[in-house]
Each structure stands twice: as C-alpha cells, then as structure tokens.
Symmetry: C2
Subunit: 547 residues, 2 copies
C-alpha cells in the first residue's frame, strides 16, 4: 500500500483553511497514485483547539468541512485518514470524540475514536472528549488497518512514567484483532528528550507485535506548544523505514511494507531546541498575523540569543533591535548590541531612556525617601523600556518579543510590565545555562553573537555595578535546583540531601513560590522542557506553602 504522510502545520481554528490545504494535497496524491493520505490528530481544527471545542457552532463548521471532503472524495481513488472532533448524541459524557476518519469514495468508511485522553501537564482532553468505548480494525486495500490516536500509543509505564497509568492498551488490542499495520495519528508536542522517548515507544510497539507502525505527527507551533513532526514508519521488526524531518512541513510517499534498516541517529539535543525555538517564533508571529518583531537589546546574552533566533526564524530584515540605555547602562551595552545587530543584519535603533527616567525621578522624589526609590527606580527603568517597545509596536505593527529566561522567570528576577512586556516569551522555558549553550551552538562556525556578550558577567544594569550574582546563586547551581524543584516536583529536603546548601535551596524555593503572581501575567512562552511555566503548571497564587 502506497501511503502519503502529510506532516502538515494546520492553523488552530482555521477549519476551512486547513481543509483547503488538504484538498490541494489530495489532488497531488491522486496524481502520484497513492492509496492513502494520512494527516495528524485533529488536523481539521489544529491542535490544541482548546475551548473552541465548547462552541457547538465550531463543531458545525467541522461537520461542513467533512461534508466537503466527502463530496470531493468521490472524484478520487486516494483515501484520506484524518483527525477531527466528532459529536455524538449528548446523553452522557461530553458529547465529543477525538476521532480518526477514513474517508473513501464518498463515504466515511471507518471511524476510530481515541481511547486514552491525556489530562496531565499541558493536556486537557478529558475536558472536551469522551473516550472510545471500543477499538476495531478495518480492512482497506488488502491490509487490516489498526488505527489509533496519539496517547493511545503512550501507555508504556517504563518509557513514559509521568503519564497516567492506563488499564487499557489500544495498540495491543488492535494487534490481537489481526491488524497488519498500526497507524497512529498524533499531535505530540516537542520537549527535550521526547523525540527519543517517542522513537522508543513506537519502535517498541512494532517490535512487540511484529507489524509495521506508521506514525504521523503534527508539525508547527501553537501558542506555547511546538510540534516537531518527525513522522516515522517502522517495519515489523521495529527497524526504521523512514523518519520525516523535525520542525518542518513535509509530505512523503512511502510503501507500508518497505523493510527498514538499523537505527538512525537523532539530531543533537541543542539543535532540536534551537529549531523548536525558531519554529515557535515563526509560527506565533505569523499565526497572530504579524510579520516582524521588535525587542530590546540590553547587551546581554538573553536578548542576543533571542535576536539570533528571531533572525533565523523570520529573516534579519524582519527583526528590529532597540537598545535603550539608562544612566546605569555600561558603555559596552550599546556597542555590543550594535555589533550584534551588525553581525545578524538586524534593524538597529538607539533610544535613550535617560530623560524619561529623570522625569520619573523628579516626579516621585517628593513622595519617596531616597532609599525607597532604589527598587522602584530599578523597576521604572525596565518599565520605561517596556513602554517604548510597546510604542514602537503600536507604530510599526511589530510583535514585541521578551527575552527573560527560565531561571529568572522561576525566581521572579524580572520586572512585571517592564522586561516582561511582550507578545511571546521566547526563552521562558530555557534555563540560563542552556542560554549559554545555545549561544555557543549558534557561534559554532563563526562569531555571530559577539564574544564580549558571551563573556561579560550577567547584569540587569539597573543600578551602578549591579551583577546578577549579587542577588542570585550561581546559575549552574540555580538551574540544577530549579530542575529538581520545578521539573521533578522534588521535596525541599530531598534537594538538600543531594548536597546543596540548605539556605540556598530554601531561598530558591521561596522565590519560586512567591513569583507565581508574576508568571500568571507573563506572555505565553515556548515549552521546551518536560515542565514549563504556563498551561502545564497550574499553581495557586493566594496560598500559603507548607514545606
């Protein structure tokens, strides 16, 4: 059987646009003589459609699109397997299934609903869907297809311990029913190491059941989530036949019964993070209807990295860097930013905030004693910069990118309505130590990010001679403790038992918990670790933490 893998990037909510993309591709399939075109989970709505699914009329638009596809299918010999929400008589449950529809020659030949509905981390599927009540195979062109949807394949406790523990294995059930091939349509977001876990899980199914496994994953970024694609086909020995590239759309024809060859080497983890962040920027900007971005260049490494990522994602001519020196900015901050902008080819502006800063100072000094002014004035510099960026955003229609990293966001070392102002927080899930690694990755062939930026001690430059390390623990230690506390949810005592200074551990933990209110108002940030701040980590604010 000749299959076309449609590793596409649908736009969330744009049912008609996604359908049109499919129609165009279908025509090409037919010309290539493919038997089946396979598209990702919930392809018609894009994933995740979130509470759009609660609107009955949204489901009506889905049903109209499916009617159009059914009408079109009469002209084609190629069948389509795609994901879409399906409504059912709402006598009990939620009234919707997350379904895979096999459309062929004017009819829905077969429907399989999703059995396992993820409801941890960023997933809310049980909010919208009821689980399938049964799984079945379907005969099609000489094969017995066992069709499954994303999480249906993720019931391996060994490989995926952080998921739920399900008591049903849809893949095993399909294999026992005599499937000659398993197909899984997915919308499985990327995070660090997940590509390896996913590869092992899918290969494990093919090996265990001795049948080929075709895995078709969504690509593209939607708000916080980046989908890496990497659709793949394993043969019945669990050897890889093909893997589509990560982080970009691709359509590839493959014969289901092709024998595979020994293991492939997955790309370097930093390269994956780099590509995830570029795709995250590109899609957020374009899907929000923007074409260009603006960001403040402080002369530090975070804004340098975001500039480089944005230039790679959008083209340097779509990136506007603005350096906004205050009386406390080092001389280097403007020069280093200028060099960075020149290296990358960004638009570059200098806009001093000195006069505005002094007008605040004059306006406030009557009411504030000098020592009270300190922290307020540090924040005010950050907020003036935020205001200037937003003014340029209003003027030119650039989306503002924020540059704070995960380590800062974790402990609240950032100014709400200041450097946190913007539409997308590019690095909010990238720890500071990885910021350096990514900068080195970008510089691996030539010096794109100036050495001076990489080598200077991190500083907010909001008061004379300020250094991050005056306030924060050294970043390598901070990041390790944050990994244990935020990503692994480890108890403070257990972290201390790993040999860290108790005072430092407690300082960090209290800072994390005290900063929930700031993160609640942060822009969406691109998830690249197992636990990002945002929709996957839902903490109370008005609370008292017991340790």
């Amino acid at each position: 059987m000749q299959v076309l893998i449609g590793q596409l990037n649908p736009v969330v909510g744009d049912i008609r646009g996604n359908k049109e993309r499919l129609m165009t591709l279908w025509q090409q399939c037919e010309e290539q003589g493919a038997d089946l075109l396979v598209l990702p989970e919930l392809y018609l709505t894009g994933y995740p459609p979130r509470d759009l699914l609660s609107r009955e009329w949204f489901i009506t638009v889905v049903e109209e699109a499916i009617d159009d596809l059914l009408a079109a299918s009469r002209s084609y010999e190629t069948a389509v397997l795609l994901g879409a929400p399906q409504s059912y008589n709402h006598e009990k449950g939620r009234g919707l299934y997350n379904s895979a529809l096999l459309i062929y020659r004017g009819q829905i030949l077969f429907t399989q609903h999703k059995s396992l509905l993820p409801i941890y981390d960023v997933f809310d599927e049980a909010r919208y869907f009821a689980p399938a009540t049964e799984v079945k195979t379907v005969e099609f062109k000489g094969q017995v297809l066992g069709i499954s949807i994303c999480e249906d394949a993720w019931n391996s406790r060994e490989l995926w311990p952080r998921g739920l523990c399900y008591d049903f294995d849809p893949i095993g059930a399909l294999a026992r029913q005599g499937a000659t091939v398993i197909i899984n349509i997915s919308a499985s977001p990327y995070h660090l190491e997940k590509e390896k876990i996913r590869y092992e899980i899918i290969r494990g199914h093919a090996r265990k059941h001795g049948i080929p496994f075709l895995y078709v994953n969504q690509v593209g970024a939607n708000d916080e989530l980046v989908f890496d694609g990497r659709s793949m086909l394993f043969d019945g020995q669990g050897q890889l036949v093909t893997m589509l590239p990560g982080f970009r759309e691709q359509v590839q024809k493959v014969s289901l019964m092709t024998p595979g060859s020994p293991d492939l080497v997955l790309p370097d983890r930093l390269e994956s993070v780099y590509e995830a962040l570029c795709l995250g920027i590109r899609d957020y900007v374009s899907k929000c209807g923007f074409s260009s971005v603006i960001l403040g260049l402080s002369g530090g490494i975070d804004s340098a990295l975001v500039s480089a990522l944005a230039a790679a994602a959008l083209g340097a001519d779509k990136v506007y860097g603005i350096t906004m020196p205050s009386p406390y900015s080092s001389r280097g901050s403007v020069e280093d930013s200028r060099n960075l902008a020149r290296n990358l080819g960004l638009h570059f502006m200098v806009h001093s905030i000195e006069d505005i800063y002094y007008s605040y100072l004059n306006s406030l000094k009557g009411d504030f004693r000098e020592e009270e002014l300190d922290i307020s004035l540090e924040n005010i510099q950050a907020r003036i910069r935020g205001n200037i960026l937003m003014a340029y955003s209003n003027k030119y229609g650039h989306l503002v990118l924020t540059t704070g990293n995960k380590s800062e966001m974790a402990v609240g070392y950032s100014t709400l309505y200041g450097d946190m102002s913007g539409g997308l927080s590019v690095l909010s899930d990238v720890p500071k130590t990885m910021v350096y690694q990514l900068a080195e990755f970008i510089n691996r062939q030539e010096e794109i990010i100036p050495r001076a930026i990489l080598q200077k001690p991190p500083s907010a430059e909001l008061k004379p001679d300020q250094k991050d390390q005056d306030t924060l623990p050294p970043y390598p230690v901070l990041d390790q403790i944050l990994y244990y506390y935020v990503e692994l949810d480890m108890a403070p005592e257990d972290i201390i038992h790993r040999g860290f200074d108790p005072d430092m551990v407690w300082w960090i933990i209290r800072a994390v918990d005290r900063s929930e209110y700031k993160r609640r108002q942060a822009p969406p940030g691109l998830k690249i670790t197992g636990k990002a701040f945002g929709m996957g980590r839902r903490m109370p604010i008005a609370a008292r933490y017991n340790y």
Copy 2:
C-alpha cells in the same frame, strides 16, 4: 444526632494552618457535646489546590496532618468528617482520590471517595483524581450516613445543564442503600444565580429520596473563585431547616432530624455580587500577605466602584486612591475623585503625570509622525499611571487593584501594562451595565459614590473630548451581545437573528477574539458570572477564527 457545621475558609496549601483551625474548633465541639463536626471538601488543602496535588511531598504533609488528627481524636467523643486528598497504590489512574474521611476515636472509621469529577469551566479534577469505584453508607450513632462530595450531587440535567452528563447518580445509590441522611461536603464556587440552582438541587434530592440532606460548603475566595458557603440542612420533606449565611465563616450546631419550614427568600442578586466581590478582595489581599491596596482613581465609575468595594472589604484606612491627571483629564476627574475619597474615607493623593507624559512625547516625537503618535500616546498615559501605581506599591507594600470591567476586557478596550497593571482585577467579570447597578446598590441609602461620577458619560480621557461610546457600542447592547457570545457560546448568526445590527455583532465578536492575547496577561479576576475570562475559558491566541 447533633452536628456542627464548620463553614470555614481554609487557606490553599496551608495544610498545617488549616489543621490547627480544625483542632481549635474540635475542642469547642466537644465542649458543646456535638456528635459530628462536618468540614468542606478538601478542607485540609483548601480548594482548589491545583498542581500542588502533583507534588508527592504535598500529599505527605496531608498524611502527617491526618495522623495528627487521628491522634487528637482519641481524646474526643465528637467525630470529624472532612475532605482531603487520599493517595492509593499508583498501579493505574492518577494515584489520588478526592475523599471524605470520617475520623472517630483514633481511627478513620469510613472513607468515601468522590465519584463525579468535574472537568468543565474552572474545574480540572480529573487532572488529579481518579473517581470512586463504589459508594457505600456507614452506620454512625444510630444513623446510616450517605456521604458524598460536591459534584456527586450535581447530576441533574434539568437544573445543571451545562455540566457533564453523568451516567451514575451517587445520591440515588446511597439512598437505595438505606441512608437515613445524606451529607455532601462541597467546595462549590459562587456565580450569579448559582445559589438558587444549588438550593433547588439539594432540596430536590431530599424530596426525591425522603431523607434529610446536610450540605456543607467552603467559604472564602481563592484566586479567581469566590466560595459563598450557604451551607444548609433540608428535612426529609425537602423543607429547609437552616441555611448558614453567605460569604462568611460560620459554625453552627444543628440537630439532623429537626423538621424544616417553608421556603426562605434568597438574598437579592446584586447583594450577592457585592458580597462576593468584597470577599474576593479581602481574601486575595490577605492570603497574598498584603494588608492594604492602592488604585488609580480616574473620576469614572469603575474605579469608584472598586474603591467602595475595597473600603467595604478592608476598611477605608487600608485603601489608597491616587488620581493621576494628564493633559486630557477633565477638571471633574480630580474633583470627583476627591469627593469620592472623602465620602469613603480613603487615603487620597494627586500625582500629575503631565511632566512624564511630555518627556515621553519629546523622546518619541523624533521617530514618530504626529498621527502615529495618537494611539501610542493614549497607551503611554495609561502605562505611566501603571508605573506610578507600581512604584507606590513597591514603596508602601500595597497591592494594586485594577478597575477594568468585563465589557472592556471582552473587547480589549484597555491598555496592557497600563490600566491592566495590578495584582487583582476586581471587575473583570462584571459587565459595565452591572457596574452601574452595583453603584446604585451602594448608593441605595446615601450618596457614597458621587452622583457626578454616576452621571458622566464613560470616558478613558486619553485624548480631548474622548467618550467610550465614540468607539464602543452602547453598553446595554454590548453587554447583551457579549452575554450571548461569551457566556452562552452562541454562534454569530444566531445572535444576529435575535435582532441586533449585524455590523455591530461582527465588530464585537472580532474584538473579543482579537483580544485573547491581552486577557492572557491580565491579573486574576473574580468570577461572578457563569463564564468568566481566566481559568474557566481557555482560548488559543495564535489562531484564525472561522465564523
């Protein structure tokens, strides 16, 4: 059986503190000779504990608290029925139940897990909990208790159509097993009209099964949610025996077999909203560790209403009002604010933003053409005010309250990082038309909010002679359309068919959908309608809406 209803206000996460409260109360119960003290759902953790439940060590703290309660129970004849998460061997599912524990004389006499786990609107319970596999009754001091938890009683399709449709009725099952009384421990948040629905649902169970029904609800506000309490006991004819007051802690002794009397009249809906907002302010401020608030007084009705609510919630001496005139402020805006502050007894300050505004103007005018400056400068005024408020917040440790109403938040008629800056958005679920009703409610006996504020046409005063109605549809129409679109999820065509101007409907709908990004960065807002912006309405940002 003599029961003490403990309508308490636990602090989320403060397991030890909540336990201590319970210990104190227990002692009093014992002295009063009560058989049973009943506390709300998840009392030990407060509701909702959210992702704190994902931390294993958080559950350990719960278990330690329960051990302490068991030890204490040896000295008491009064039993305690309370809600707490219970872990179980994590072979499948999520490893936690949402449980009611009956503690008596050194042991957990009985445990009932929650059967129906809400996962719509603001609720995420299936994210954390597995459902009960069975319900059972328990004999205690001559009664057969049927114990249920919150949603277990909410499976009435007629009365609560927006919930899920469950195929199990825990209350019916308990009645069939011979329960002589049903007890429901709840953490049921308030919204408009919900007190009536809840009353009907609980009374309906008592009537249908012909047995008394004791309902014990949490009181207090936690982030976005306000819990109104209003615990109640119905007799076996469905007549009300007692209802505890709404929106405040109360402990009340009641005999389970007391006959009831005819219907009570529930309080006026505006009075409930008023009390909900006051409690929401009071608890957010205190549970976040603040004791005072600051807000900008524009001379308009929104900030006037928030001032009055804050003064009622915290005491006027804890409320700081600051009016920040710009060159476009009307003369009245300062005078009206001063009168308001005097009427309420607030601290009052005037801080002109004129000099800072002109410093921005000078700084930007080189780069901006005059017409480009317009919208930027409107926003800059709002942002300067936000900055000043945050500076005072830093100085004095006041929490900043924002004053935007639901109608503005819906269509994005607000400035991000400007008037949206603050810790709590008091009116973000109060439509503008209800803002007026609440102001009239506050003024029902004397003029607290000056007439001049009530009578002036709404204006942002960000440019000369600006009026809201130059940009927005008339508020009564806007609010009606928003009700259909946001609260009822009605299709645009169906709204137009109700007789509204199609252009106006489309303008509003597009404005709502386009403003998701602003609301994502808004502070938490107090939920008082059936569908509030925030955790109960989860919309994509990078999306294209098909209508």
